[in-house]
């Protein structure tokens, strides 16, 4: 069993990682990378099935255990199964005009289909609402947590003001008296915003990005060489 649960997964990981690295540097082997990519994409499609199965397992268990909030799990399962059903069987979809007599030839997401209806009138407003709620929490957090407690906080606060005002026409209005093409044109809020984003932000982001890239390289090597085995699901 150790061969199936340990050795083979580690071997696949090592070989796949090595192939991807080699194919990036040696043009002759670029096709190997393409093949590995195709394998990955097929697996990614399977991941949707696996994800669906996992969703069923988790929520069915919650319902059977009657744990706290099990009713919500019921809602999730009903919505999941209903969407899957109307999508797979193309309920209400108009037939494809090129093949009007062929069953299931219509477009799943075509206007008027049940799938389209669920997307347009359920999924779309719900996700947009969830995202919109952020504005309310950000406002509340800004009122309670954004304090000028020390020098660093004052810098952060000043930057926030410039970005907030420079991103809307208020920024233009406030510093409109500074000629844009004059020697102090860069001090206009909308120009200061761009300067902060392109200079200070870029410098900071680049440093973080380089750090992350080095971290990814070292972690990837550890995984490929079998030193880090946490992805196998054990405590090793």
């Amino acid at each position: 069993m150790q061969i199936l649960t340990r050795f083979i997964p580690l071997l696949i990981t090592g070989i796949a990682g090595l192939v991807m690295i080699i194919s990036a540097f040696i043009p002759y082997t670029s096709e190997w990378g393409q093949k590995a990519g195709q394998f990955f994409n097929i697996l990614a499609a399977f991941a949707f099935v696996l994800g669906g199965g996992n969703l069923l397992k988790v929520h069915l268990k919650k319902i059977s255990d009657q744990s706290v909030g099990w009713g919500y799990s019921g809602v999730v399962l009903i919505c999941f199964i209903a969407t899957l059903f109307v999508g797979l069987f193309k309920i209400g979809a108009y037939p494809n005009p090129n093949f009007p007599n062929v069953p299931f030839s219509g477009e799943t997401q075509g206007t008027g289909s049940w799938f389209w209806w669920a997307y347009e009138y359920v999924f779309k407003p719900l996700t947009a609402t969830m995202f919109s709620i952020l504005a309310f929490y950000v406002a509340s957090a800004a009122f309670r947590a954004f304090r000028a407690k020390n020098f660093e906080a004052i810098l952060l606060l000043g930057t926030a003001f410039i970005i907030l005002l420079g991103s809307v026409s208020a920024g233009v209005f406030v510093t409109n008296w500074i000629p844009n093409d004059g020697p102090f044109g860069d001090l206009r809020l909308e120009n200061l915003r761009i300067y902060i984003m392109q200079v200070f932000n870029t410098a900071g982001t680049r440093a973080i990005m380089i750090g992350i890239a080095l971290g990814i390289a070292s972690t990837s090597l550890k995984i490929m060489l079998g030193i880090d085995r946490s992805f196998l699901g054990s405590g090793d």
Binding site: E31, N41, A45, N96, Y119, A128, A139, S169, I194, M197
Partner: protein, 349 residues
Amino acid sequence: MMNFLNTLDRRWIFLAMALCVGVPILVIGLTGYTFPETPTPLAEAFFNEVDTAGEAKGRRANILVALDFDPASAGELNPMAVSLVHQCAQKGHRMYFISLWPVGPQMIMESVDKVIKRHYPEMVYGEDYVNLGFKAGNEQVIKVMGIDLTTEFRTDVEGTTLSKIPMMQGITNLEDFDLIAEISAGYPGSKEWVLYAATQYNIPFVSGMTGVQAPQLYPYFPNQLQGLLGAIKGAAEYEFLVNNWVREDAMAKVLEAGGFPESKAMETAAALASKPQQVSTWTVTAEASTLGPEAKTKLIELATAPIPGEYLEGQRRMGPQLFAHLLMVFLIILGNVIFFAQRRRGGGA
């Protein structure tokens, strides 16, 4: 008073935010008023890159339009997508739509319906634009497309084999595109396109993205990312540029048909489009004497014709954005006033 503010129920803040967002939406909806936008160099770069795509090759440009977002961020990104399709359609570019997000095809359909089907009905599916739909696999899809696009996409979204689609002839991999234009809400998105397509194959790349994503992409501008639109502000600036250019382009065509030399027509159209309220006055000047009455009427029509609502969404959304930002600034100042007042009294924050 300070005690009341310090223990302020957060529902009052929620109500203030609701009013700051809701009232401008209603007012703008009723009056149609939008705030003036001054395009930044970033939006201008985005616009110019789309405008000049394919010019060096002397043919219609092939633009890969990747819409990698979902309804959660559509409020911010849809105006960008609509303006992008609007500019490409007006310019006559060929558009190849794809998405790395599962609900991306719906975003594609929305942009196609709003722009192409409504305003450019003469454009033919399969010849002027094609929808390749969604593919699972994140950045791996980009990597495979870089080598062989047909391995990844065998059919379009309607199930038609790519070899039967006229505009797919001669398209084998990413290098056959003159520009990649992408609208992104996260992963996979702009960064993956920069890393695995634009940099690797040296393909011009422009991207519009959410406000939270933009700071991470600034380091790539302008070498690996030639144009960048950040949040609704970027969308509004780009929308303003596209609308202005479309009007300018239509006016230049009228002037050229009226006997103006090409360069003079473009120069005059640019001046007229920037001040549309002065067009009727201009038509009675000596400069316009060579134009016939029909051309003059057409010019006045172009100057006074209202811009369709779907092309103003970005600029309209800047209204709620303005008041929401002002509220945020006010709340931060108020919070700090309370903080310092308490500190003076010797209380903790």
